[in-house]
């Protein structure tokens, strides 16, 4: 290695610069949106203009004849195999064809695709496809959709895509034994991911072998490969999905979309020419994925001393036209409660309902944002109902470390109570809560708390959810890490490099990452559910340990030393006993490659989180290898005349196990919180008759730099023994309690409870005028 290069050894725990930052600041980083290939065609999807209709006839003959059109495909060109994203555990949710042939179920449902020499020709070709529809009555409201007589969207009864009854103990008796019982209904709107890079895919088919390469902006290349293989009826081995730099995902790029499928199929039909299909911003808002709007009903009881006796309720989620990640969302929407609170009596039923609206899928938090708002608002009201401080209430009922919950989650390291204490202390809770002042003032302040937990190494999609890593150490000391983990901006490439360098004992700057290419890197389910640091990180650590062991074996033999008495630290092979250096790393590697040893260094590692199988009848089972916890306190200022809410400060205390890169962890927390603030105060994806009303940044407002919030971020390091270097991870959790923390703070400020998001100035004013002084 070059003598002048910076060397950061022992990089874990340090804020090393992101491994991919340089090409991003110079504009060189390659995104699929930027890719150009020789002969590349422009692909476009033909989408239904109707929310619900039978397809009577599709005639593509005029489109095919248009000069410059190289391929036109409909369902008849496909094996007509359905796909879904939760197939393994919920096979009945496999409900979508890549190109529909009998029915369309939402405005935007894909029925055909074209590939042409340029965009103008492709658009013209779309207009030349003649489709005869028989329009069917449509239903857009989930409550209406569940009523008998509602239009049937699929074949499920009452349009219920997923029904999840969760019951433990005896809730009714526990409610009767409670000193205080209350009921609340919370309403959560839809939202958009709004990643800066829209969805885009380039498919290329090698016609003679039917082998396909797909470059796509994705968080989960292996999931896309699996779905492509199924729907194209091609072996997975003949499909290569490549992830380049991705301009944000947030859950919206976690699955195969029809455009991925179409890009591949069109290329096949166009003699192997590559086909690029890209979404405009409007298409991104209307036709990709969105957040499940939820009606969350809760009725719970507590004892005078604050003990939570029972939680009951009902969750109705509008799922849109197809299932996508619906089962996971509805499950996470209900089950997170058990990570946070000690509760033995519980009865909540969840419905994920089909409607003729665009498809709802995974979005950062997987239903946990919706449940976070509902549950944490409800808990606040319960506390108030018995005159108890909300912080004390949380502490009274929070889960403890080394416990097993009623649904058999194994919470080992658990810093929740510590997080709550620290958050209260850091924010000055005692001095501020309940101190909101007199009638006379116009601008008042308030403080509120929300708590949350998240799975950090969960197994939700397959029997195994392992990740694998391969490390090759080359003769000149270069270290390549091949990981399936998909970096979409959260910093997983950097984290893998740090973990590899730390375990191998070399400088961070030596590491080169090659990630998320299904043909080259080992399997990895993808970047979601905040799993990458824990699962992929462990795989990387194991691979580095393997490579190190091989090196030490050779060195040991050469020097006549026990390999177990050796280690590699700070780029030196050292004796464990006294840290004395015996050989440099470079020299040790050369030794491996020398004539006497001829040992080519390849380290292998994989990791499957320790979980227990989930019993889908009861919901019992330890779903994750690790859990993260947090407490978030919001301080707000409310103008009683204008209804404007300003978030003054968020104090976020997070049990993350251990930060691999503190700067990256903070970056995730800061980004999540602002996304949460956006959803709380002004984001609302609005619909009418199945059509998105505000599909642009001018009408769907995401937070700008002027909306930034002051955030105090504190880590609690519980050093999870299962995590790589004690790390659990960070990705989503920080936006789970945000909405409730803010709503609770508003209640503290003006004595008014708002149960529907977004909390706009209008809602605040209306609430103040309607019920002055009361909740």
């Amino acid at each position: 290695m070059n003598q002048d290069t910076k060397k950061t050894t022992s990089p874990v725990g340090k804020a090393v610069p992101r491994i991919d930052a340089r090409p991003k600041v110079t504009g060189e980083a390659a995104y699929v949106y930027d890719m150009r290939l020789s002969g590349m065609l422009v692909g476009k999807m033909l989408r239904s203009p109707h929310a619900h209709a039978k397809i009577v006839k599709i005639d593509t003959s005029r489109a095919r004849k248009l000069a410059g059109v190289k391929a036109v495909v409909t369902a008849t060109d496909t094996p007509k195999i359905k796909f879904g994203s939760n197939e393994y555990f919920f096979p009945y949710t496999v409900d979508q064809l890549p190109l529909e042939d009998e029915k369309v179920r939402y405005i935007g449902d894909e029925i055909a695709a074209v590939a042409a020499v340029d965009e103008e020709t492709a658009n013209k070709a779309l207009s030349l496809i003649d489709v005869t529809y028989e329009v069917l009555p449509a239903v857009f409201d989930p409550v209406e959709a569940m009523k008998p007589g509602a239009p049937a969207i699929h074949t499920s009864m009452n349009n219920i895509g997923v029904m999840l009854p969760v019951q433990y103990g005896d809730a009714d008796t526990a409610l009767k034994e409670s000193d205080y019982v209350r009921e609340d209904v919370f309403v959560l709107p839809s939202a958009a991911h709004a990643a800066l890079e829209p969805h885009v895919a380039i498919g290329q088919c090698e016609v003679s072998t039917r082998r396909i390469t797909l470059w796509t902006s994705t968080q989960a290349p292996f999931k896309v490969r699996e779905a492509l293989a199924k729907t194209l009826e091609i072996e997975q081995a003949d499909i290569r999905v490549i992830k380049l730099a991705v301009g944000g995902g947030f859950g919206g790029k976690l699955e195969m979309l029809p455009m991925d499928f179409a890009a591949c199929l069109l290329s096949q039909k166009a003699g192997g020419l590559p086909v690029k299909i890209a979404c405009t911003r409007e298409e991104e808002f209307c036709f990709t994925r969105r957040k499940h709007p939820v009606i969350y009903k809760l009725k719970s009881g507590v004892k005078k001393d604050g003990t939570l006796m029972a939680i009951t309720g009902e969750v109705i989620a509008d799922g849109g036209a197809y299932c996508s990640y619906g089962p996971t969302v509805i499950a996470a929407c209900i089950m997170r409660i058990f990570m946070v609170y000690k509760i033995r009596h519980f009865r909540v039923i969840g419905f994920r309902v089909y409607t003729n609206n665009p498809i709802c899928g995974a979005i950062r938090g997987f239903g946990g944002v919706q449940s976070g708002f509902a549950v944490e608002s409800h808990m606040d009201l319960l506390a108030r109902g018995i005159g108890m401080d909300p912080v004390e209430f949380r502490l009274k009922n929070a889960t403890d470390p080394d416990t097993v919950t009623v649904n058999k989650l194994v919470l080992s390291t658990n810093g929740l109570k510590e997080c709550i204490h620290k958050a209260a202390e850091a924010s000055g809770w005692k001095q501020k809560f309940g101190k909101s002042s007199s009638e006379g003032e116009v601008v008042v302040r308030g403080i509120g708390i929300g708590v949350a937990a998240d799975v950090m190494g969960s197994k939700m999609y397959k029997a195994h959810e392992s990740a694998g890593t391969i490390i090759k150490v080359e003769e000149d000391g270069s270290v390549y890490v091949f990981t399936g983990a998909a970096d979409t901006g959260q910093g997983s490439d950097t984290a893998m490099a740090q973990i590899a360098a730390q375990e191998l004992g070399v400088a961070y700057e030596r590491i080169r990452i090659k990630a998320a290419d299904t043909e080259i890197t080992p399997f990895d389910t993808g970047s979601f559910a905040s799993r990458v640091t824990f699962i992929s990180g462990n795989a990387t650590k194991n691979a580095a340990a393997d490579a190190k062991r091989q090196i030490l074996e050779v060195v040991g033999r050469q020097l006549g030393l026990e390999k177990d008495g050796l280690d590699i630290r700070d780029e030196q092979v050292v004796r464990r006993s006294d840290n004395g250096a015996v050989m440099s790393f470079d020299r040790a590697v050369q030794l491996c490659y020398s004539f006497d040893y001829g040992h080519l260094l390849i380290g292998r590692g994989h990791y499957n989180p320790k979980t227990t199988p989930i019993d889908f009848r009861t919901g019992e089972g330890n779903i994750s290898g690790s859990y993260g916890f947090e407490a978030q306190i919001a301080e707000v200022e409310v103008n009683k005349k204008t209804g404007q809410v300003r978030v003054l400060k968020m104090t976020d205390v997070h049990d993350i196990g251990y930060p691999i890169n503190p700067q990256s962890v903070q970056g995730q927390i800061e980004g999540s919180i602002l996304m949460g603030v956006g959803y709380t105060l002004h984001e609302n994806l609005r619909f009418a008759e199945g059509r998105v009303l505000n599909p642009s940044f001018s009408k769907y407002r995401i937070p700008r730099s002027t909306d930034k919030v002051d955030i105090a971020s504190i880590f609690v390091e519980t050093n999870d023994p299962q995590g790589p270097f004690g790390a659990k991870g960070m990705g989503e959790a920080s936006l789970l309690p945000t909405a409730a923390a803010i709503a609770n703070a508003i209640h503290d400020a003006i004595g008014v409870r708002i149960r529907e998001l977004p909390i706009t100035p209008e809602k605040v004013l209306a609430a103040l005028n309607r019920e002055p002084g009361r909740e």
Binding site: E119, T642, L681, H682, R704, T706, D707, A766
Partner: protein, 277 residues
């Protein structure tokens, strides 16, 4: 690519040349482009000709005369915001420029475009109306002057190029209050532009202009009368409420906008009172 439909681009060097081009069919003017180009992206059949005003230097200049501050219509929002004469003498105009859109849009958008676009949510027409601005229009029949009131009422005839905005100096006090439904950087839901002269310690020639988002900017004359001839401290809340209700009786304003309007009127009283001390 291409994002826009085909048209021919012209960059005339003089107003005379530009006006001659405007005589041709399906011809539109291009200044900053922030409204025009976005509109074109959504228009199925666009113009045949786009006439850019970029090369006409006179349109981008500011001039101070004895009577008015003349702002060239092609001056950008950023340029106007930063002009010392605007910051000092016309704080409501400065505030309107400061609050609208975002930095890059302010760098590109022109005051002329904001006025001539005739969008309900444009900020400048209401402010300029409150400042008694005179608009200078160039037509093939010669130069015309017009009040903003007449302009927003649609009293222009035939093709014209807005070339300058003249602001009379004697507006001593001015405020601009702007509301958005979501966050501060957003299209305005509603705005109030207020200005007045001071005569012997009392408010005179009061202008209270409402940009309601549901109609063109309009003066609220009964509300103006409540302020007229008074020292600020004498303005009564109840009187304001009545006047505002009467002035806006015909408008479809929801409760939120009405509340904002009342708040704004009261806020103006507070600011006037504070500045008088």
């Amino acid at each position: 690519m291409p994002i826009l439909r085909d048209f021919s681009y012209h960059a005339p060097k003089s107003l005379k040349e530009a006006l001659a081009l405007l005589k041709r069919p399906r011809c539109i003017l291009l200044a900053g482009g922030t409204i025009v180009l976005n509109t074109l992206k959504k228009t199925p059949k666009g113009p045949e000709r786009v006439v850019s005003l970029r090369r006409i230097a006179a349109l981008a200049a500011a001039k101070e005369t004895k009577d008015v501050l003349s702002l060239g219509a092609a001056m950008t929002i950023s340029e106007v915001e930063r002009l010392p004469a605007v910051t000092k003498e016309f704080p409501s105009l400065c505030e309107a420029c400061r609050r609208m859109a975002t930095t890059p849009l302010r760098n590109m958008a022109t005051i002329g475009g904001n006025i001539a676009s005739r969008f309900f949510w444009a900020d400048l027409p209401a402010v300029l109306m409150s400042l008694e601005a005179r608009l200078v229009l160039e037509t093939s029949a010669g130069r015309k002057e017009m009040s903003v009131d007449s302009f927003v009422a649609g009293k222009t005839k035939g093709p014209f190029i807005l070339s300058a905005v003249g602001l009379p100096w004697e507006r001593r006090i001015s405020f601009y209050l702007r509301h958005t439904r979501t966050m501060p950087v957003d299209i305005p839901t509603m705005a109030v532009a207020f200005s007045a002269a001071k005569k012997a310690g009392r408010l005179a020639e009061v202008r209270f202009v409402l940009n309601s988002g549901v109609a063109v900017p309009m003066r609220l004359k009964k509300t103006e009368n409540v302020f007229e001839g008074c020292p600020a401290a004498d303005v009564k809340r109840a009187e304001l409420r009545t006047a505002l209700a009467a002035d806006t009786a015909g408008l479809r304003l929801d409760d939120y906008k009405r509340a904002c309007l009342q708040n704004d009127a009261e806020e103006i009283v507070v600011r006037l009172t504070t500045s008088e001390r």
